[in-house]
């Protein structure tokens, strides 16, 4: 046993009250889907959690009709202040059941309990609390006169922050006066289904929120193509985002897309290096790198490259990979077998293309899906590991000599979601921040989120913003571009 070993400190799962089977939540009722069912498993153990009914296109049709009916008869007629009170109730209920949600999310997703407990679930509550207050203040949002809801919003969310992405979508949609049909990801439907209970406890009118787990190619496609949907909000891959944009061409359905990224984390030689190392780790190893805004490309000034990489690998060696429910765990499981295969394949391509691979020497559990933190050095801008979004714990290191070179390299990507800057020189920070084509720039920090802070991409990272006043625009008429 080394000084780094801790006694196991697993969070208890006794707080959970899971059902063996979950249906679809449509019009305030639990109902069975026509698309068969899947077994949701824990990626850390491959043990089954619950059986989940899958929606087919007729279920999506039912859900959209329910959302339309509740929009027409209840939600659009309610005052903003009353809508807001429902959202406040939801925020409070989430806080009351925060630990239960954190444990469920960790079980279903594989991310460490430290993250779900301290980041995901608190932010979910904060998101609902923030947008609750907007519901009766839309006239003050600066989005044009007489702001009005769009109607029924179809929302499709990913598996990396399951409940948080639900909150990012549902809270502003309801605040703006829309009703929603939400499809969670195939591998992480659990907390969205538990959220249906929250809606019931809050007394939310039937049909305002409908939760329909399903396969992307079936339920997702049916939702996007449904003529009764006024708005599609999607978070996920750029490839699927393109398909959605193409499908919706020529329709009146509004769309916002939050897609992939290949964020540059730029470290100048005047940075506080120890802080930068923490930020680099937070940038790419937070949530196993399953983060669209991850700082997956480290751009480090050439004269400190060796020092930074050495400190980085030394610090990484102190991280603990393993049981996500353990309160000491830093790095959990990869979300699915398919994602593990994808990460593995890209890392192999990185090696084949000549980059130098460093992998953390650590034990991995015998069951479940795991990938050791990996760093590539000697990476060129044309390498696959410097261009493709890996969505895993894999960092590519590139160097630069001048600020201009850093800016050119940082912007040399079709994506434009996030970037980081590490320097103690404030005017340099501001100048570089101005030049980066990215929707979110973190200076001397990384991966910070807040409901008041707009988030979203430039270029092929999608369009529209989530968070704050800007996030309301996605759910109100008078919007401008789609």
């Amino acid at each position: 046993m080394s000084f780094r070993d801790y006694a196991p400190a697993p969070e208890s799962t006794a707080i959970l009250n899971l059902r063996p089977h979950y249906g679809l939540y449509i019009d305030g009722q639990w109902t069975e889907g026509g698309g068969g069912s899947i077994t949701s498993i824990s990626p850390a153990t491959e043990k089954s959690i619950a059986e989940i009914s899958m929606a087919d296109s007729s279920d999506i049709d039912r859900a959209v009709l329910a959302a339309r009916k509740s929009y027409d008869t209840v939600w659009s007629r309610m005052s903003g202040a009353e809508r807001g009170k429902y959202l406040y109730r939801i925020a409070r209920l989430i806080q009351e059941r925060a630990r239960e949600f954190a444990v469920a999310e960790t079980l279903d997703n594989g991310k460490p309990i430290r993250e779900t407990r301290d980041i995901d679930i608190p932010l979910v509550a904060a998101w609902f609390f923030h947008y609750a207050g907007w519901a009766d203040k839309l006239d003050y949002a600066g989005l044009g006169p007489n702001p009005s809801a769009l109607g029924v919003a179809g929302q499709i969310i990913p598996w990396n922050f399951p409940l948080l992405m639900l909150a990012w979508k549902v809270a502003p949609a309801l605040a703006a006066g829309n009703t929603v049909v939400l499809k969670p990801a195939e591998t992480t439907p659990l907390t969205a289904l538990m959220f249906a209970d929250i809606c019931q406890q809050a007394g939310l009118p039937a049909g305002v929120v409908n939760i329909v787990p399903g396969h992307g190619g079936v339920a997702g496609t049916a939702l996007v193509e449904h003529a009764g949907v006024n708005k599609i909000a999607f978070t996920g891959s750029t490839a699927v985002g393109r398909n959605i944009a193409r499908t919706l061409a020529g329709t009146e359905t509004r769309v916002t897309l939050e897609l992939g990224g290949k964020g540059a984390n730029i470290v100048f030689d005047d940075a506080a290096v120890d802080e930068a190392v923490e930020g680099i780790i937070a940038g790419i190893f937070f949530n196993q790198g399953h983060v669209c805004c991850a700082g997956s490309r480290l751009l480090v000034q050439e004269n400190i490259q060796d020092e930074v990489v050495e400190k980085l690998t030394r610090r990484l060696a102190t991280l603990r990979l393993g049981d996500p429910l353990d309160k000491n765990t830093d790095i959990g499981a990869v979300n699915s077998k398919a994602q593990l295969a994808r990460i593995t394949a890209i890392a192999e391509t990185g090696e084949a293309e000549g980059a130098t691979r460093w992998t953390l020497d650590c034990e991995i559990p015998s069951k479940g899906f795991w990938f050791r933190p990996t760093i590539f050095t000697n990476v060129t801008t044309s390498n696959t590991v410097a261009r493709d979004e890996i969505f895993g714990p894999v960092l590519s290191v590139l160097s630069f000599r001048t600020p201009d070179e850093a800016i050119i390299k940082a912007n040399n990507t079709p994506y434009g979601l996030s970037a980081g800057i590490w320097t103690q020189n404030a005017s340099r920070m501001l100048r570089v921040a101005d030049s980066l084509r990215a929707g979110v720039v973190w200076a001397n920090t990384f991966n910070q989120f807040d409901p008041t802070s707009p988030f979203g991409g430039y270029k092929e990272s999608g369009y529209g913003r989530e968070g704050g006043r800007h996030g309301l625009a996605a759910y109100l008429a008078n919007g401008g571009a789609r």
């Binding site: 989005l143 398909n243 944009a245 920070m429 990215a438 973190w442 008078n478 401008g480």
Partner: protein
């Protein structure tokens, strides 16, 4: 003895210069009464590509100019247009058959549209962006930036030949975008003469590029061009608009669908359609 007038050769406007179409093609423009007016250059997809290259080259300078400077330059465009008001009235009357009073109203509205946008350049970021009160020790600011190279399909003649173009171009320029605009296909003359106003008004070459020609032929190329960041389809119709939107999906280009704005509408949201919001976080500490 009456003097023989010197008719103008209508050419394209690319990178601050007035080239003919590289294709050598022209389109005959007739007045509503059927009288010959001009052979207007008919842009090819190569011309469109050249225009995108010129626009991209001009983008850093225009988006990097101070908002105060952009405001003065847009105001200067209004000054130049005002000075040639009578010329535009005559040209619109001749090429569209509008009454003199209507033509005068249209040119006046175009001038006023430019002045309105000139005033927005140094106010838009203040109204659209802002400080975000995040729950933590951070300075957090959201600012709108230009989207980049914008392709615009200007509304067609029934909706006004000059005002439709100016109403499309001005909001994009306000925040530092650069544009490639397809002039009204049916009445391109006033649009091409507007290029002469731009050329004498301190707008840097390449910031505005104006092409006359077939929307059906050129717009889809702009919609599928990987170096175009957004497309405004206000002047496109039917299947062409749908095809452009479908092509735009490949690069996730921003799209303004037909009907989103009126053909001569000036609106805050129209300026907002071509900005990207960037949010910058910085730590605060006592150290």
């Amino acid at each position: 003895m009456s003097r023989l007038a010197i008719p103008k050769t209508y050419k394209l406007f690319i990178g601050g210069k007035f080239p003919r179409s590289e294709s050598g093609r022209t389109t005959e423009v007739l007045s509503p009464s059927g009288k010959f007016v001009a052979n207007v250059a008919k842009a090819s997809r190569k011309d469109a590509r050249d225009a995108v290259v010129a626009a991209r080259a001009a983008w850093a300078g225009w988006s990097g100019a101070s908002a105060y400077n952009r405001g003065q330059v847009l105001y200067r465009v209004a000054e130049m247009l005002e000075g040639r008001l009578d010329q535009f009235v005559a040209e619109i009357v001749e090429t569209t058959g509008a009454s003199t009073a209507d033509a005068r109203r249209e040119v006046a509205a175009a001038i006023d549209c430019l002045v309105w946008h000139a005033g927005w350049t140094d106010k838009f970021a203040q109204v659209h962006g802002g400080a975000n009160p995040v729950a933590g020790p951070f300075f957090n600011l959201s600012v709108p930036e230009s989207t980049g190279v914008i392709a615009l399909v200007a509304p067609s003649v029934e909706q006004s030949s000059l005002l439709g173009l100016v109403s499309s171009v001005a909001p994009a320029l306000t925040t530092g975008n650069v544009v490639v605009v397809l002039a009204s296909e049916h009445a391109p003359c006033a649009a091409m003469t507007f290029a002469e106003v731009l050329a004498t008004s301190d707008i840097p070459g390449g910031v505005v590029n104006i092409l006359s020609g077939s929307v059906a032929e050129v717009a889809p190329w702009l919609a599928s061009h990987a170096d175009v960041n957004a497309i405004d389809l206000t002047g496109a119709t039917g299947e062409i608009a749908v095809e452009c939107e479908r092509s735009a999906a490949q690069t996730l280009m921003r799209v303004v669908r037909p009907g989103t704005f009126g053909p001569t509408e000036s609106a805050f949201s129209r300026i907002a359609a071509f900005v990207e919001t960037k949010t910058v976080w910085h730590t605060k500490s006592l150290a």
